[in-house]
Symmetry: C2
Subunit: 282 residues, 2 copies
DNA sequence: GAGATCGATACCCGTGCGGTATCGCTGCCC
DNA sequence: GGGCAGCGATACCGCACGGGTATCGATCTC
């Protein structure tokens, strides 16, 4: 199976529309139809159920979509990391560390300072991204190492080391009645009728159904909370960066959040190893 | 980057010889040379240092070899799993479980029995393989789930659940003086001059340098121990399948061995999930 | 210095990918 | 209900690119 075929199939599977997929791929529709047919013939498996009006994934197509995305990420990672390795020969290789925008900057800055003091330290570029994007960046080679937050982020497929664990707080508008409490329980805050939990986009960019406003990043979220339109559970360390119009109350029975440093299992370069080692010593 | 290019490069990188690599790939040498040159041009990176007599990997080439293998495995896995999913529609999908030949069969048979009793159980094919091969089978889709033994097997890149932990014993020929002891220390057995530890092949099929006989599987190993030519450290559960001409003595300070069930992180099918759940309940 | 070995180059051929034009089917709407 | 619009499939064409053979240039060996 060639990566071209995989790219074509993934495009069609995501669009569920040959014309749009072809436009996205920058080719015409007929060669795309042919390529998919040929892929199906070679696999001996129907991937799509097409009527002349609609396209739908079969069970096998669903599997190939999932596995194919992972495979394409791996190929892309091989490409990117090779290019980086080649540049490394003629200059500073550097590392790219990715973490969630809005996550605790205290741990990160401590880590960067400590690592910079190491004798064989290389430059570390920090990349901030929205929730759920880090895993992708790590898998396709755009980043070398990530700070993830369990249980929110999935660490599946990566090597990890635990760095620290913290409890969580509920973030509320400054004047809210609950802000007088010294602590609350999950049950007190999960179903506040006027302050629903926001909805984050899934890995496919779509929002799950349900109540609560849609948010894309932490700035939006904090704004919504300040406006009295939402509330949120967040790691305790977020208190350091709370605005004046927000308040935080510890949630005793909320799950603990563990910050881990994660890296792709196959590419343990010396630079990554050094950074990880520094991190575990913090 | 196309998988064809990756396959070509990996072949050359492994053979370090264009002629042999071309023969292995079933093509002539000139197109192979051209393909590699083109790959290097597109990546903007030298992958191989060639003189007219020898070929060697550059730093970037080493990276591409490592990453490229992983990517090719992922592509192959996508292929295989899609084919399997298509067959599943017209019959029993089934699971393939891989474990080391010679590993404890007690845990495995308990697991298989317990899982078979589940209402939605599918057939499980058991695949036995040599040490170090399981990870490969799991990564390239020939197996769905594996029983691995930490710290011997690397679980990097997989999701795992711990099943059980056991101590280790040293396996010796039946008449050996140490067999009278009730227990020994690592120091007592690591450097027995007449009974060296055997050497296992690495992932590349090559044997590391050093003393000790080369072995490929457990039968060979046991045979060598019985002949008084080797000794070995092994999990306690191996005692159940020891031959009469062998004896085992507990090694108090040997590292504990943990048996884990492992599966590829992206392909958590319902069948795999069921098997894992059954395993954790044992 | 002759020969062997190995990678690179030159050149040719055929497959296969991509393009345009068009068909056949289906749902929609006046 | 018939015309129309939208979609995927098919037919056909041209060319780029992958693969083959022949050969060269360099280097190691005896």
């Amino acid at each position: 199976m060639e990566t071209r075929e995989l790219r074509y199939f993934v495009a069609v599977a995501e669009e569920l529309h040959f014309g749009r997929a072809a436009r996205r791929l920058g080719i015409a529709q007929p060669p795309l139809s042919r390529a998919i047919r040929q892929l199906e013939r070679r696999l001996g498996a129907a991937l799509l159920e097409r009527t002349s009006r609609t396209v739908n994934l079969t069970e096998a197509g669903l599997v190939l979509l999932r596995e194919g995305r992972a495979a394409l990420d791996a190929v892309e990672a091989a490409d990117r990391r090779t290019r980086r390795a080649a540049l490394a020969a003629t200059g500073d290789p550097g590392l790219v560390l990715v973490t969630k925008a809005g996550a605790s900057s205290e741990l990160l800055s401590k880590l960067l300072d400590a690592y910079a003091a190491e004798p064989e330290a290389v430059t570390v570029d920090v990349l901030l991204c929205g929730p759920g994007e880090q895993e992708r960046l790590l898998r396709d080679g755009r980043a070398d190492v990530a700070l993830l937050h369990r249980p929110f982020d999935t660490t599946a497929g990566f090597d990890t080391e635990e760095l620290c664990t913290e409890s969580q707080v509920v973030v509320l508008p400054a004047g809210h009645p609950l802000t007088g409490r010294t602590h609350v329980q999950m049950a007190d805050v999960t179903d506040l009728p006027d302050l629903p939990m926001p909805r984050w986009p899934g890995p496919d960019g779509m929002y799950p159904d349900g109540p609560g406003p849609q948010v894309r990043d932490h700035t939006q979220l904090l704004q919504l909370i300040a406006l009295g339109r939402a509330s949120a559970i967040a790691p305790e360390s977020c208190r350091a960066q709370l605005r004046d119009d927000l308040a935080a109350v510890p949630v005793l029975d909320a799950p603990m959040v563990t910050t881990v440093i994660a890296w792709p299992p196959h590419s343990r370069s010396r630079a990554v190893a050094g950074l990880v080692q520094t991190a575990t010593r913090l």
